[in-house]
């Protein structure tokens, strides 16, 4: 068990280090989400309710995450380093866990800035929304990195990633939006937690089949 966590740690460290060096994904995601907010301002005619803005927050999160996810496996794919990681004696699911954690860190980093900005641009954000964002992030990163790994095998990976990801993300959006706007968000937060549990387990169990022949 110790070894597993050590592997995840080593791999996640590697991802964070790579991003620190390259410094391209994080700033891009940040810029993207802020630009999206500006677009939303113009996309919401003056009569729109505050609820519409809440809904759009979740659209922004999902698509910003997609931007980051598209970059997730680039280093492995470009130099076929995947082979080396797969050959190593570690449990292959550790690759997925590490990548998901790193992506989670990036997404959370972006949201730390984006959420306050959203609150300033549109309207306040309650605890339930923040809770929803946290839970949703876990689901997004878990499923997103998994599907991202699948997409690396294909010829049309940039096209495929959103196609594979979005249908799976629909329940997350429902949970998140619900948590943001409904008076008793407990059910939605619970739903998000269940989603995370189910899909994280499924991803963890089947990652081996995605990378090995």
């Amino acid at each position: 068990m110790n070894g597993y966590f050590a592997d995840v740690g080593a791999l996640a460290r590697k991802d964070l280090l790579l991003e620190l060096r390259a410094r391209d994904t994080l700033p891009a995601m940040l810029l993207f989400v802020l630009a999206t907010f500006v677009v939303f301002h113009f996309a919401l005619p003056s009569g729109s309710s505050a609820l519409a803005a809440s809904g759009l927050l979740w659209v922004a999160i999902v698509f910003t995450a997609l931007l980051g996810l598209g970059r997730a496996f680039v280093p492995e794919r470009e130099q076929r380093v995947f082979d080396a990681l797969v050959l190593a004696p570690n449990d292959r699911s550790a690759i997925w866990v590490a990548k998901a954690l790193a992506t989670l860190a990036f997404l959370a980093g972006v949201e730390v800035v984006a959420l306050p900005v959203f609150a300033a641009f549109f309207h306040g954000i309650g605890a339930a929304t923040v809770g929803g964002v946290v839970l949703a992030d876990v689901g997004i990163c878990a499923v997103g990195t998994f599907v991202g790994a699948m997409a690396t095998a294909s010829r049309a990976r940039e096209l495929l990633l959103p196609l594979l990801f979005l249908p799976l993300a629909i329940p997350i959006v429902i949970g998140g939006v619900g948590a943001s706007i409904v008076d008793s968000p407990g059910r939605y937060l619970g739903f998000l937690a269940v989603y995370d549990l189910i899909f994280a387990t499924l991803c963890w169990a089947s990652f081996d089949y995605v990378v090995a022949e």
């Binding site: 609820l51 049309a156 329940p171 949970g175």
Partner: protein
């Protein structure tokens, strides 16, 4: 297959006295259930492929999902017709079933995009199988999500009249269901046979290549 079609026509006259919206119901719901069955079967075959490496399971899984998508598309179409007939609109978000099918339709269409953008080989089979499993897990999850969403997606005031089924109507429904399943199974078998023949042909063609066996120049093997 002829029997299946005959059965379907049998059903239609039985409820000719109902309004047209009721008649569509006898197609719409069995088609939907058949689609679920196809996806379920596809996922089962996918599991067999991953777990036991059952040869041919990948092809069966793919064919089943193909059928599922066809029937799924039909579900959406018949659902749309039903909505038009009942309430005069081409689409309604208030039918949980219909929305669920839309999500699933998107998901399984992506299955084909996945399949066709990866080179044929063991990796493609594995990826397809894993995705099929995700799909079958997504079905209940999406169902609950959509139900939850009804809280804040205020549906327009369309009461979806679930028909109360009397005895004869129920039998008619069951007959329709059986007919649909039989139809799906027939398509499935036909398509599967076609695909298997295809695969076999390709295999034979590939084996035709002049097999100059690898020449081996063994030196002392032991050291």
């Amino acid at each position: 297959m002829a029997v299946a079609i005959a059965l379907i026509f049998f059903v239609a006259p039985e409820d000719a006295d109902q309004g047209i919206s009721q008649k569509i119901f006898y197609f719409h719901v069995p088609i939907a259930l058949t689609a679920y069955a196809c996806f379920g079967w596809g996922a089962w075959k996918a599991l067999r492929h991953l777990w036991e490496r059952e040869p041919g399971a990948d092809l069966e899984s793919y064919t089943a999902i193909h059928q599922g998508v066809i029937f799924g598309a039909l579900t959406l179409v018949t659902g749309s017709i039903w909505a038009r007939a009942s309430w005069g609109v081409w689409w309604t978000w208030s039918s949980n079933q219909l929305v669920l099918f839309l999500v699933l339709f998107l998901f399984y269409c992506a299955y084909f995009m996945l399949r066709y953008s990866v080179e044929p080989g063991p990796q493609r089979e594995n990826l397809s199988a894993v995705y099929a499993l995700f799909g079958v897990v997504l079905i209940p999850v999406s169902f609950f999500a959509i139900r939850l969403a009804n809280d804040f997606i205020h549906p327009t005031v369309f009461t979806s009249r679930g028909p109360q089924m009397s005895g004869t109507m129920f039998t008619a429904f069951c007959v329709a269901l059986a007919a649909m399943l039989a139809l799906a199974f027939t398509f499935y078998s036909v398509e599967l046979v076609g695909k298997r023949v295809d695969a076999r042909l390709r295999e034979l063609r590939a084996a035709e290549r002049p097999a100059t066996a690898a020449r081996r120049v063994p030196e002392a093997v032991a050291r």
